[in-house]
Amino acid sequence: MSKNLQTIGRRDFIKVSALTTGGLLLGIQFSCSNSTKDKAAKGILHRLNAYLSINTNGKVEIYNPVPEIGQGVRTALPMLVAEELNVAWQNIIVKQADASEAYGGYDQSAAGSNSVRFYWEPMRKAGAVARELLLQAAAAQWQLQEKVCYIEDGIIKNHLNSKELGIGDVAQQASTYKIPENVSLKTPNEFKFIGKSVKNPDIHEILSGKAVFGLDVRIPNMLYASMEKSTTYGATVLSFDASDALKVPGVKYAFKVSLHGIPERPFCREGVSVVGDSVWSVLQGRKALKITWDLGANTKESTQRLHEIGNRLVEKKGEAVVKNMGNVYSDLNTSKNTLEATYHLPFIAHIPMETVNCTIDLKDDSCEIWSTTQVPFADLNFLSNFFELPIERVKLHVTRIGGGFGRRLGPDFTIEAAKIAKELKQPIQYFWTREDDIRFDAYRPFSYHKLMAAWDNDLKITSWLHRQSGTSRYAFRPNKEPFESEFFPNNFPANLIANFRQEYSLIVSNINRSLIRAPGNNALAFVVESFIDELAHKTGQDPLLFRLNMLSMEDKEFSFEANSTISTKRMKGVLKLAAEKAAWGKQLADGRGMGIAGYFTFDTYVSHVADVSVDETGNLTIHKFTSAIDCGQVLNKDGVIAQIEGAIMDGLSATLFQEITISQGSTNEGNFNNYGVLKMSQSPIDINAYIVEGNYPPTGVGEPPYPPVAPALCNAIFAACGKRIRKLPIENQLKI
């Protein structure tokens, strides 16, 4: 059996001890990302928590470090432990880890599709260490050599006789041994779980309504709190009258929540909080408040103004040159064959199904928090500072979470909850309504894009100029230097075209914006992959072959970011697989068309082929999506497919109708009646997703399938009816 030997080095901290109930407990502090490794190397990390415990009944409890927001991390990461331990999946109990350096600290964030990249090795090592200890204990009991013993489905066996022991039978004994210095990890051909599909460990709780989401947390003596804010950006409370609000049965308190004392207060707004003994009382209390606002400096802000500025900015050279190779301007000036097009993407909101919320039980010398955050460790640090409590006295639990999409990366709701909790002597559950969620969100940046390209007589693209003007999300960050654009300068088609230039101009605005599923990429994919499609049609080439030719016949790898490369081979792989499975190139009826797009996000490659019809009156029917993904080693196969399916639906919502608009400094949309989510009847009946097999390390799947949805759909619409969509959302653009 070929094995991959892993040293438990000084950078990993593992402790084995007995459970109070008998059995084995592994306390581990594994280093995940580079930043944690650096800290560990300096000996800064020292806390150990339960990571994995094996009970005498053979049940294995695994602590999942990353918040579950629907991306399937509570299945995928525990699978890694189960794989090395060789236990049956039904004997795994998944626990949710609190925020702690011991569980990875900042690596615990549900962000950047990082979880499998960060925890791929540490979680397997945890399982392998436990396996070695159990085998040692069994071998000692049988007086056999450890190397003849093995675990199969949670049963310890050996090659010499038919004796068997449950892992629970030797867990206590195993807990008395020293941690082995080396453990061997399985090679891919030995995997039993990894790469296959396993059952969601939470399925019964979810379906029966017993799963505890943030809004379902109930602790003794708890009050509910919410906050009335002005819809105008930057408005402050001049005065308020809460006398009617306090008459509402169940309402206990109403007070102003200022932003004073928060040095950095991204996205927070001032308002008046209402606290009561039920959600309904609080909602009625909010309605009864009379607040006089100072509307502040943003009352003239509108998306109309942003349209004018955005459009104007892309007509001239950008303020910042993000990337420049060759000489784009002289080539464009001298070339006979050129094409230009201007694209636009609107603000869109995150709208997780469960609105943001945070429950805080603040005492004089300690604090306990139940949060729906995507960044537990960052919040833990913030709250411990804010409450002036040592971090050891603050416990932050992560509940099951009703969707993330980047909404819960922002600290706004946590800051507001903390401000209110500090005013009271009782635990509170702070919540936002759907109206709060849509109006007070931080949106995907608004952007304009002007593209210009030239090609030679062999129909090869020689120049690519991409000017973007946008309300960059980075403009909100306290340290704005160096200037960061919304570009990824090394993503395709960078390095494939001799003269290549990206320019960025900032649209200055105070409208809140932040990260949304595949940030930056979700706009760039639409623009880049649509323009490539335009170039293919303009030069009379098949859009798939055009892409494959652009990616070159020989395989190349380019540096993308530190520790990340981008490969033409893998991009071609997903394009070819999706096209082949969709029967790309086959004859289609009039009014029907296929569109393709491929995109690289967070080290994962995805291609979609959309198959649509557009009738004479402009009615769009989406028949089918065929998708291919290369995310390296697959962990939970069904989870990968599910993320592709979900991302297609999400991408269709954004492409078809999602748009946040601003008038007089306020967001116009305020609930699902005027800000939509795709409905069942609008969803494609047929989705086929395929996985490119390969020996690359695993990469994330939560975000990468989202960006190429919009261009695949819009390219299919062009193929079906000849209408080129350059502004999102599509809304009524197809109607005749």
Binding site: D202, L207, S278, I401, M680, P684, I685
Partner: protein
């Protein structure tokens, strides 16, 4: 405030709440039945779907005073029964975040109770009021068809 005696999940309960208080908040605030979810408060998303006399209704927009002698069933009332919808949902592994799923299931049960073998059109019509932000529609459709077979 007023006293109401309501039939819920095969039991009779008495509560003292304002007449206009929506059933959703009676369930969550007063009865501790937390499987019914808040999503929008204006009957646009279906996360709060319950059955009133067997019909799916949006409990967030249904004042408690309006239900009279009607019988209410929530996900908790169904979860104890082995409806094939649960098995189908599990087989197809429908949920992602899971937040909307209890509402989806309540709508699906109501559909299957009146249509043993729904086609795509019937599924569209019955499920259009239940939003899923994670986009599990493809699996919900499959699971409803699977449940129809199991029934």
């Amino acid at each position: 405030m007023a006293i109401y005696t309501i039939q819920i999940n095969y039991k009779e309960v008495t509560i003292d709440v304002p007449a206009e208080k929506p059933v959703l908040w009676v369930l969550r605030d007063d009865l501790g039945l937390l499987g019914t979810k808040y999503g929008c408060g204006i009957a646009q998303c279906g996360a709060c779907t319950v059955h009133l006399n067997g019909n799916p209704v949006r409990s967030c927009a249904l004042p408690i005073a309006s239900i009279g002698k009607g019988t209410l069933l929530t996900i908790e009332g169904y979860a104890s029964k082995k409806h094939p919808v649960f098995k189908a949902w599990e087989e197809i592994n429908v949920p992602q975040c899971g937040y909307c799923q209890t509402g989806q299931i309540m709508s699906a049960i109501a559909l299957l109770n009146r249509n043993k073998n729904p086609d795509d059109k019937a599924i569209d019509a019955a499920m259009n009021g239940n939003l899923c932000r994670c986009g599990t529609y493809y699996r919900i459709r499959k699971a409803i068809k699977r449940a129809a077979k199991l029934n």
